[in-house]
Symmetry: D2
Subunit: 334 residues, 4 copies
């Protein structure tokens, strides 16, 4: 999970989601537009698609992410196990993927499922790979059995550094050099600031995955620069950062205290004067023995990961293979 | 898990561990002895055994648990994967079980694995059942194949109310009436106030399991009163309560703030004046949408549960079958 | 799985399926009707429903099963992962369940998931229980939250004798006496003679589950007689019996040899003269060290069990709750 | 699993084990020595180590495997869950690995866990990887934390062709070019002719893995030739080939028939005249719809795979890291 690697870099707020970085900035600065960032919001009944385009360096600095496109699909009711809604989200995801990439009929796509299949909330990537319609070997060995409109898709779930001893980016670079795909799509579990985002939000980005804000850490990047081909990242929040949760709880508690006690003098000033970074630093210190090791997840995380994996895999199946539509997806998958 | 059922009853501090209730009282009241409670502590190199005996009603009220014996085995290094230490803990556990129960050669023991096998931190009970040396059917059908010194042991992991729709105590009572055991041993995952207790502490109690402080809720009890035979409870903390973690973090943060700012006037008084129950109530309110649904666990929870399940199952195998010793345990288990 | 218990009783052919016993008889005797047995066949496009009614003792002896109703739903394409077909089978199953049982609005139904959740092909029962809409506790504790047309359903997956040390029928009887259901539905994995039946055939029976042909083995039965309430059995073949597979292979091989060699003299006579029981006895002898321990399953058995579990659970959800229809099933399940 | 790829090439008998090929030849030719093959057998109490060295082409043709060393460790009682025996096997395995490879203090070793983690009997490789002491990243990033006598070990479980769409050998070659190991060790599940070998036999070979007898299929090979570094293969039988089982059953049945009937005339001659290839071809034809899809495994396969994975991982941990001994292995592994 990306959060392990980014947890300590933040002067920025700690989040993997561009949309949360934007919200945070807006709330803090009390303004809705961010310089150098374009935002486009589409609201449907149960689905909100937000397209954030970071166009200038100033925006990248504020958002804390490289220039590029960040699309967020928010579906608060996605946990409700409504099959129709799941299908609508699958279609939305497929459309956004198609908008973001540019593929030819004979393009080869490598899907990378990041994360650890033994840690439930980190197993999103490997599980998407399992539900994927993989075709490259069939196209190569028995091309006659493949319909028109089916692209060459291959996939790998390489595991995490602690299990392999090899940087994931090294493994992927090695495979990219052999397979020579035209596009890499990396799936990863994310950390969110908000419990309610867990398995209800999907983020797409065409900037790849840049742990540690990408500052000079080129070696660990999964990006066009490091791979030599475009890299799309698809992420879903599956855990809440424990420090974040503690911080948010404290903020809420203080608000509640202040409004109840009506004593806004010394106490209010004191908390007001303690800036956010200071407070976050204190919380990190207090939680230090826990952090990196702690997970905060919903109890039903196993089912949530399974459901969202199917949505993402089917979205990819539809987006990558022109001849496949919603009604077909189940039919092809092993 | 017991914590689901007890989370909201607390005027007392929220914990499943008698030892934590005792610590809490001692810290709050600044005294080491609790009226009506006897405490006996045995320190070995890496293992501390604390025997708490609640002998009078006043002690039961303070501790928030019925009169009876509560033995806690604390092994801070138990997560370190040290086989020798695991074997020592297994032996300690077996000794404490033997001290607590009184068995005849032909006693029948029913082990109940509480919890949900699909939710990792709640799967302790079912996993212990899997590692148990179950003999009742062999003794009944092919008694010739059973050595002397093997008692009749049977086991069940009935699942949780949300999956069965039946109170666990009803299921167990039904089985007890058929099997007519001389002793019931119930294994359960517990909530702790402290992260470091997760899978390092084992609690035994001869008072059974009494969700909701046992006030008139006889129906849900797993106790001698409700089952008609003695009930031993064995529990291991596998989660931290999210509200507890938030509360503790805030306490630590406030301490830190106070000591840094040296401003002990209004702010200090305000927090001092807000009593614990009030603060906990506020935190519960703030965390309400999360609570009951949230788990805070270590990342390696899957391995931790597996390891401690083996320790408990082997401890039971040694304690219940006089002819089985540490070196044999692996040999008999399926 | 039932096959473990019945494997050695057979003078009859070894199968859990009434439809296979019937086919076997028909082939052997070269006649289509069986005395004392009524057969009704409904063919739809991809689904064949065969209703076998054993009405007289003579039929029961021939079929090797007690008098009662045996409904078989055969769907050769059910493994193809076609969602529409799965929904049609779910509906067919629901209809056949409704035909077979007689329920009042306030009936209480106990669903029993037989089998071992740790052995994939034997995990059918426990997995159906997981996907079931269980309502009894909600109706009991918060009746206001339950819609009209929702019946009281509870469920248990008790595990197998080797894990519990207790006969499953004893456990269920104990629970039945507490819960007092009006109907018990038992789900079990079956053995089939044919590979192609694995997870493509569903059998319903209103005679319960009678291991060992039920001869005097009342104690192990899950039947109306032993439980005091009607018992419906739902079974799906998930393994092929290894002895059966060897036997069938040999039959096919002999046919092939005979037709190739055109030597029908001594050899043909010898095999012809060796009756089936004799041959089966020989094969059992030869395979003895394997049998009871061996499983023959398809490689994708994990996915097949998951898919068919959902079909059966949804079929039950629709059949047992009048207000629930196909479109709703996902919405209610945990 | 290798058996999928080799099942149809056999003019030779179908087996992944050199020791079985040798037995088969010996029985058929009624002689104990094979030209061009050296055999060395070490018998201990419960462990038999057989070192087969194929030194000349004639031997390679007979055995059906390339020239090189094939070491087989046979432990019939390995399934009995005897911890002492498991430790002895672990030590034997470590010794044989050390004999077979030649490592320097700073050698880098890449362990490859072949197979599919979702199909239990094929999950041997991935599970060994999970239990392995992986050190490369620690040596690289925090060399101070690593003791002397710990070598740089990394590992990957790439999945199978049906899931990735990429030949495993391509993936490994890509990673080898990045990581530049001095040795590759590949772990794989094997097919055996004999049920009793399942998880009781370990085969080491320094010829790598050569699906399809390696005839011109260089592309799929995991060998020194294709990888540029020495490749050691470690395999354990986890399934019986269904065709093999049928064939063996028939052979035993025919023997039994012949000896019983004393009719050795026409029938005996006919079967005698039908050569093995012919008979195997017939069986393959008869079983064709099953083959490739069928698994024959023991029921307790899940536990067997877990136990043998630990033995192999620990054997590797001891063999690859000079400072690690039997008592330490548990201590280091996550």
């Amino acid at each position: 999970m990306a959060q392990q690697e980014t947890a300590y870099h933040a002067g920025h707020v700690r989040t993997d989601l561009a949309i949360e970085a934007r919200e945070f900035y807006s709330r803090q600065e009390n303004r809705n537009d961010i310089p150098g960032v374009e935002v486009d919001i589409l609201k449907q009944e149960d689905i909100t698609v937000t397209r954030v385009k970071v166009v200038e360096d100033v925006g990248a600095r504020i958002i804390g992410k490289p220039k590029g496109n960040y699309i967020t699909i928010e579906v608060p009711k996605l946990r409700d196990n409504d099959k129709d809604l799941q299908e609508n989200v699958t279609r939305s995801l497929a459309e956004e993927i198609i908008r973001l990439v540019s593929l030819k009929d004979d393009s080869v796509i490598l899907v990378v499922g990041l994360g650890n299949w033994n840690v439930t909330p980190d197993a999103l990537g490997p599980r998407v790979v399992e539900h994927l319609l993989v075709t490259r070997h069939i196209i190569e060995y028995v091309p006659d059995q493949v319909d028109e409109g089916v692209r060459s898709v291959c996939a790998i779930a390489p595991g995490v550094l602690g299990i392999t001893g090899i940087e994931t980016s090294e493994i992927i670079r090695g495979i990219v050099e052999k397979v020579k795909p035209d596009l890499v799509i990396a799936i990863d579990a994310l950390a969110s600031r908000k419990m309610e985002r867990i398995s209800t939000t999907i983020q797409l980005a065409d900037t790849g995955i840049n742990p540690g804000s990408g500052v000079g850490n080129n070696r660990k990047e999964l990006s066009e620069e490091s791979m030599g081909v475009p890299v799309i990242a698809i992420g879903v929040p599956t855990v809440v950062d424990a420090a974040t949760m503690a911080n948010d709880t404290i903020d809420m508690l203080v608000d509640s205290l202040v409004s109840q006690s009506r004593k806004e003098g010394e106490f209010y000033n004191m908390l007001k004067n303690m800036n956010r970074d200071e407070k976050q630093r204190l919380i990190n210190e207090v939680l230090a023995p826990y952090i990196g090791n702690l997970m905060v997840t919903p109890k039903e995380i196993d089912r949530l990961i399974e459901d969202i994996s199917v949505v993402i895999a089917d979205g990819l199946n539809i987006a990558l293979h022109p001849s496949i539509e919603m009604d077909d997806v189940g039919r092809f998958i092993n």
